[in-house]
Every structure is written in C-alpha cells, then in structure tokens.
Subunit: 322 residues, 2 copies
C-alpha cells in the first residue's frame, strides 16, 4: 500500500443528503444544531442544504431558513447544492457571505440517466454545461472541478466502460480550456453503487495516468456495502478527498426506504484512515457524538458502524490506564 | 490487484454465530429451516451449532436437536463448534455421520484474553493445545489447520505485533511436527475487529512470506465496518477462504446489543468477489433469500447491504431485456 496518501480531506454531505429522505419532517432548528455540531469536529467543508424544488423535495423546503439560521465557524466552508439557475439564485440571494460558492463541470456518464433525469442526451448535456459555465463566469463563481456521475455503472444503462469516462473528461477539459478555467480536482461519483475495489482501482488508475497532477475525489454510496472497501481502494490509488455522511445518513434501508443508501459513513472512513496512519484533521469522538445526534434527530438507527463499535483510541487509552 | 485469486470459498457461520446472540428464543424448527435453505446456495461448509454450556449460551441449548433434525445435503460439510472435551463428546455422540470432524490448533494472540477467558497464560495455552491434539489423534479426528485469534488486536491487550503472531505460528507448527500432522491451512481471526486493510496486508503478507504453500483463511468481524474492506485487502494478498455470516448475523447493534457485531456478511462478500471476477460457487439470489429468511427468523433488521440494495446481475438482466 505504498501509494497511501499522508493525509485526506473528507467533505461532509450528511445535512444535505441525510434529512431530505426522511419520511417525517425534521425541524429546522435540529438541522442547524447538527450543522453546528459538525462544525466543531475539524471538518473543513460541509454541504448544508439543497436549493431544489420544494414540491419534489419537501424535506429541503427550509433551505433558506437553514442558511439564515446557522452560526458559521471560521475556517469551515459551507456549501449548498443546486440543480438549476433558479436554485443557484436562491442560494446567492440568501447566502449573505455564509456559503462558499465554487462550481464544477459535471456530466453523467450514463446517457440513459441524463435522458431520464434531465431529458437531455450527452451532447445536449455538454451544451448545457457550456451555458452553465458561462453563467458562473458572469457571476464570478470559480469553476475548478471536473465531475462525472454514475462513473461505474447505472441502473438504467448498466456498466460504464472506462473509455466512456475518459472521453467525458476529455470533453470537460475542452470546455475548461475554451473558458480559460484551471481545473484542480477530478471527482468520480458512484451514484448508484455499482463500483467494487477492482473497478475503483481500474478507473481511478486510468484517470490518474491521464491527469497525474489533478487531485482526485470519490463520492461513494454504500447501497451494496462496498463504500469503505471502495474508499480503501481509492486511497491506494492516491485519492485524498472523499465525500461522506456522518452515520451514513442519506437513505435508510432500516426504515424500509427504497432506493440508494447514503454516502460512505464519515466516521467509519475517518476511523479507517486514522488507523492506517493517514491524517484526517478530524476528531473521531466528536464525529461519533454527531452520528448519535443524527440518530436522535431522525428517530431511528442509522447504518454507521464505529458509532456502535467504538473507537480503538479510546480502548487503547483504557488499556494503558490499566 | 494482480494477486486476486481466481476463486474463493466462503464458509458459512450464520447458524452458529447468529442465533445464539438473539434475546428471544428461536424455535429449533426455524434454525433447521435456515440451515436447509443455506444448503441449497452452493455453500460447501456450514457451521450449524455450538456444543457449549447451555447455561452460558441458552440460545444453543438445542444443539443436539438441530443436528438430529436437519436433512444434510450431499456435498456440504456441516460443522459444529466446541470449546472443551465435553462439547466435543456431545457433538460426537449426536453426529451419526452428519457432522464433519476436522480440528485446528488454535491459540489466542492475546495473553490477557487467554487469562480472562480460559485462565491460562500463553505457555499454558500451548500445553493445553498439545493435550487437545493428542486426544484428537486418539479419536481419529484430522487436525489440519493452524489458527490464531485476536490476531490484529484485543480489547484487553491492545494492538498485536506481527512478530507475536509469527511466533505463535512457529510454536503451532512445532506441535504439528511433534505429532506428524500436516497442516494445510492458516487462519487469522480478527475476533474483536481491530484490523484495517493496511494491517491485514501487513500481517497476511508476513504469514504468506513465511508459509508460501499454506492456504489462508480470514475470520473477520464487522464491528467497526471494516469487514468488506478487510476482505478485499485479504483477497489482494491471496487469501481464498473466508468465514462469513449470511445477512451479517451474529450480533445486532440495531437491537441494542452490546459487544461485537457478526462476521462479515456472506452475500456482500460473495457479491464483491463475483463482481471482481472471482468465482465463489454461490448463488447470490439464493443467498439474498436466505438473508431475508434470517431477518424473518430473528424478527428485526440485520446489517447486510446487498439484501437491501439488490444484486447487479439482476439489474443487468433487466437492462438487457429493455
């Protein structure tokens, strides 16, 4: 495991991913309590809300109230998600300096999913991305990431060949060049949990060979239990940024929900990294407290493991005390 | 991942690990139903019962009834666990040819755990193992495995150095030589879930360097969510035998149990192997059915993921059918 990075950064997706899927409404005050607790764990980036259609995602109808209400901690970048110009405008309008605005050029690797979700084929997705980039430039929002979703497989299209992923990045970098953008980060999302450690190594390896100077980010879902194993495979390929959700928030099979599970669990991933000597900058015990807070807020068990099994640092300390 | 094995064998521990920890009694008939369903999945080895003190483990007081009642399937080896001569005698008495008797020389890497569990220090453990081997020879039970438990760490002793593990194997192989035993398999158990992919690679690598001709087995627990990642690390080091439990049976944090979670989940592990091109001989859909049966029997959710997320073969088939 010679290629393990010395340090990694984990970006927290829990407040956004987590609460929008819950069947019963979560009070805004509790969402803010959770965001403020997360801010105290060492996390440098937290995605706190989605500015999406409140009719489609009623659990995020309070996005403005969340942004207005939370107290930001210096040194933490708070981000939001939007899927179209209207959402972006809502985020800009309410931000008042509290949200960090950075953007990506993002394309679905699966054309069938693009058609289904956005009614655009891949050529149209690229045209759309070109327009989005122009608008971000008008607003002075830095565009510094290239992102491919469904990069490993798609429930509607099947397995995604590495050549397809590479081709999409080629075209994303063309857009960047046209707009004199300097992309610094490449992100691969396993949106529907098709990846295995082997496909992670193969796809990330091909990306790394092509773009050796880019920082690599993985956005992994744990629907088939591969999240931590896929993260370990990513670490071995030099990935040093991960999206993750405290307690595995973001879909809860235990509550009988259908569909995808949440992102890989933040504290389980942080535990693995720290135990392997990879610095995360995170306070694991505080993350575990946040995971328990998340369970209290949603009112049912969440899938994270270390929150139940406990950290080893605590055990080592107890042993050393006899 | 050049060292991935072409095929692996997964040994099922669910019926033994799983039901003994449940707070409410499981009817013997349902245990037998589960064992017979597992027998139809391609599993070649299933541990079906523990012959242990019924006062300490009331959930296994029906071990004799299980062995008497189930219908064995040809080609499947059914095994039982015992911890002392009395348990071994009980298993021999009831077997009537239905149980496969093979034994191991097994030592705890953690002396503190040996003292706590067996009131023997490591030197006394080796003396005890010598006596056990002599008795197995009297009974004609083949002894063909060397096994070290707590091989990565122990809640009472802390981290276990690789040198300690290697030293124990040296002394196990001395006992084998004294008794003209040909050991064929080395097993490492992460009994208390201290391992990470890095420590798996380091310890298994050291064992493999020392004993290049031995088959390697990992017995992993998922208490801190590392089970599948640790299995992937083992696969990369050439491990081709794993103990596992359908649905992750064997401890259920969701029911508020304290203590260790179960073994790594059989169908999640089988899913990963098959998706990486490693043949398991298992029918994943039937394993998923068994996992759902296990949830029905225990009456609460179990931690397995693929049983909730679904297999990809099924999705690929649906996609190919349009």
């Amino acid at each position: 495991m010679a290629d393990l990075p010395k340090s990694v950064r984990i970006h927290e997706e829990g407040p956004r991913e987590g609460f929008q899927m819950e069947p019963r409404p979560i009070p805004t005050a509790r969402k803010i309590e959770f965001i403020e607790a997360l801010s105290d764990t060492g996390l440098e980036q937290i995605t706190i809300a989605s500015f999406v259609n409140p009719k489609k995602v009623p659990g995020m109808a309070d996005a403005e109230d969340i942004v207005r209400g939370f107290r930001p901690r210096p040194g933490v970048a708070y981000r939001a998600l939007w899927l179209n110009e209207k959402g972006f405008e809502r985020a800009r309008t309410v931000s008042n300096g509290k949200l960090a605005f950075e953007a990506k050029i993002g394309i679905y690797a699966s054309e069938k999913f693009s058609m289904r979700n956005n009614n655009r084929n891949t050529a149209q997705e690229f045209e759309y991305a070109r327009n989005v980039v122009r608008r971000y430039r008008e607003y002075g929002v830095p565009v510094n990431r290239a992102s491919v979703s469904n990069a490993f497989g798609c429930n509607f299209q099947g397995d995604i060949p590495i050549a397809t992923v590479l081709d999409i990045f080629t075209r994303i970098f063309e857009i960047a060049e046209e707009n004199s953008l300097e992309l610094k980060e490449i992100s691969l999302a396993d949106t529907m949990a098709w990846a295995t450690p082997l496909s992670i190594k193969r796809t990330v390896g091909a990306i790394r060979d092509r773009y050796p100077d880019m920082r690599l980010n993985l956005h992994l879902h744990d629907t088939r239990g591969m999240g931590i194993a896929n993260s370990a495979a990513g670490l071995e390929m030099g990935v040093d940024m991960f999206d993750a959700s405290v307690a595995g928030l973001g879909g809860c099979p235990f509550a009988g929900h259908k569909g995808a599970a949440g992102n890989v669990c933040t504290e389980d991933l942080a535990f693995m990294c720290e135990e392997m000597g990879i610095e995360t900058g995170l306070d694991l015990e505080k993350l575990i407290d946040c995971a328990r807070l998340a369970e209290d807020i949603v009112g049912h068990p969440l899938p994270g493991s270390v929150m139940k099994g406990g950290s080893l640092k605590r055990l080592r300390h107890a042993i050393s005390q006899g």
